[in-house]
Amino acid sequence: MPLLEIENLTVSFQTAGGQFTAVDKVSLHIEPGEIVSVVGESGSGKSVAMLALMGLLPWTATVTADRLAFNNQDLKTISKSELRKIIGSKMAMIFQEPMTSLNPCFTIGFQLTETLKIHLGMNRAERKKRAIELLELVGIPEPRKRLTAFPHQLSGGMNQRVMIAMAISCNPELLIADEPTTALDVTIQAQILELLLNLQKKQGMSLVLITHDMGVVAETAERVAVQYAGQQVEKQQVKGLFSNPHHPYTQALLNSLPERSNSKILPSIAGVVPGQFDKPKGCLFSPRCDYATTKCHTIPPTAASEELGKALCHYPIVDGKPTNYPEEVNP
């Protein structure tokens, strides 16, 4: 039985310019102990989807889903207080910006022990012992001393370690890491990633790793979901995705990997993810797609079969070539 089931999750925001759909029918199943990666450029709705799951979106957001379940417990009908018992304990999340994600007014120790008190009901001595244990676990030197430090006295990497310690404090079954390394130095990025993978193995938890770095995906995950402009455009095993991508966007992402490029200049995908006011009529990727036809510009595609990674494309790519592609156009 999957640990997490998301079926057709849709999130729209009420904005000054009308409703804006930031996440459009995204589905994701996660088995216990599995690492799944969600990739996509900035603005593709990766964070919003996960925040919706955790119930952390502002009031301007409308969330709908056919199914949203954790451990077979329906998160759509659950009361707020019931949900609060799950998030932070069984299902935890760490964020993109470690420097702003911790409260500047409270010590590391205070913030770290809060969950232990609320979810596990530990007493003061137990909390302190566990906090030191956790800081040790995430590789923070002199943990006892750090308990009384404030976030601004630690580096970004150290703060992210604290965030991780906080997230795993109640031994979660699912950890959602939202671009945990984006804001950090390159050398620190690798360390944090390694830490996450070690913890995942040690604790046997499931890990959802949000990233826009295909390299990270290759090194870490078992399955990948590719997201573009709020839609899930492809879902595959990592191996299959790298050897045989089915969506032109995935193909383009892979082509922009440094080790795959044979020219001196790194190829990148021209253009940006469409926002609220420039959503194309047909396929959302069509303005940037090398293969786009008139059909692509006018008719939104439907998802392809399971074997084709459910690619959201009129002409899913197989072995580098689009299928059913009209003869008369030259890609």
Binding site: I87, L102, C105
Partner: protein, 337 residues
Amino acid sequence: MFLYLFKKLAVTIPTFFGVTLVAFIFIRLLPGDPVLLMAGERGISDERHAVLMAEMGFDKPILVQYGYYLADLAHGDFGTSIITKRPVLEEFATLFPATMELSICAMLLAILLGLPAGMIAATKRGTAIDHTVMTTALAGYSMPIFWWGLLLIIFFSGTLGWTPVSGRISLLYYFEPVTGFMLIDSLLSGQEGAFQSALSHLILPTIVLATIPLAVIARQTRSAMLEVLSEDYVRTARAKGLGPQRVIGLHALRNAMIPVITVIGLQVGVLFAGAILTETIFSWPGIGKWMVESIFRRDYSAVQGGLLLIAAIVMLVNLAVDLLYGIINPQIRHTDS
């Protein structure tokens, strides 16, 4: 922390000298010379004028005069009232507890109502509750104090007859001041009904004086809260599964308090200004009423000394506020030192 304290003091002391300069110049900027001013309509003979000028040191060069003035201040001599011939500091000290009692009560009322009102408005933003709180605050903010005070007197004292119109306590009661705070002294006196009488005298002036600070605090709390509620660390707090009381009342409020405390500190100055009107309306025997009367009596040395003392108190409060910041937000304390 000590370095932080030291730095704040280093700023306060020059400011205080600035204020002494203003107070010193004030009396010399008035048209005519001080002796003429004191003589008023009656006029004065030239010989007597010269004698008095020499007696008060006004014939010396201005810098020397300022030097004497500072030396006097250093000895705790804030001048002598021309009318009562009592030291200004002494007069001030007798009257100050009345103003302080009124100000503390008004500030407490403003904080105890303003903080929750602003917090509720922020968490219920855009709803009818929010609009009601904000409209009321705007009305309170733009209320002319004098008119508002009279309105309350007419309604509560006149129409309903619930509250007394003036003074600090009914004339039926008399006891020697111990703390100078009527609420406490009336309790200490053990006289039956004295405390109730003091309390009922305090209610209307407190409301009148609290109105503007209350409105300002409510508005500032709301806007600070709104800003903080969208911060990442508030999302983190919610992601930990903490309940709304803890997220809003602890994680958000602690951060929102920083701008709110600044405003509360600034309101102390506003409060003294308000006390002048409020005390006049309610015949409250405090500093505000005394200052107004001193001005009418042309008791310029009293006004000068009073001004300086009030400024010193406001500065002390602001210093305390600065220190409070450092305690609430360690980041300020650490980066400043």
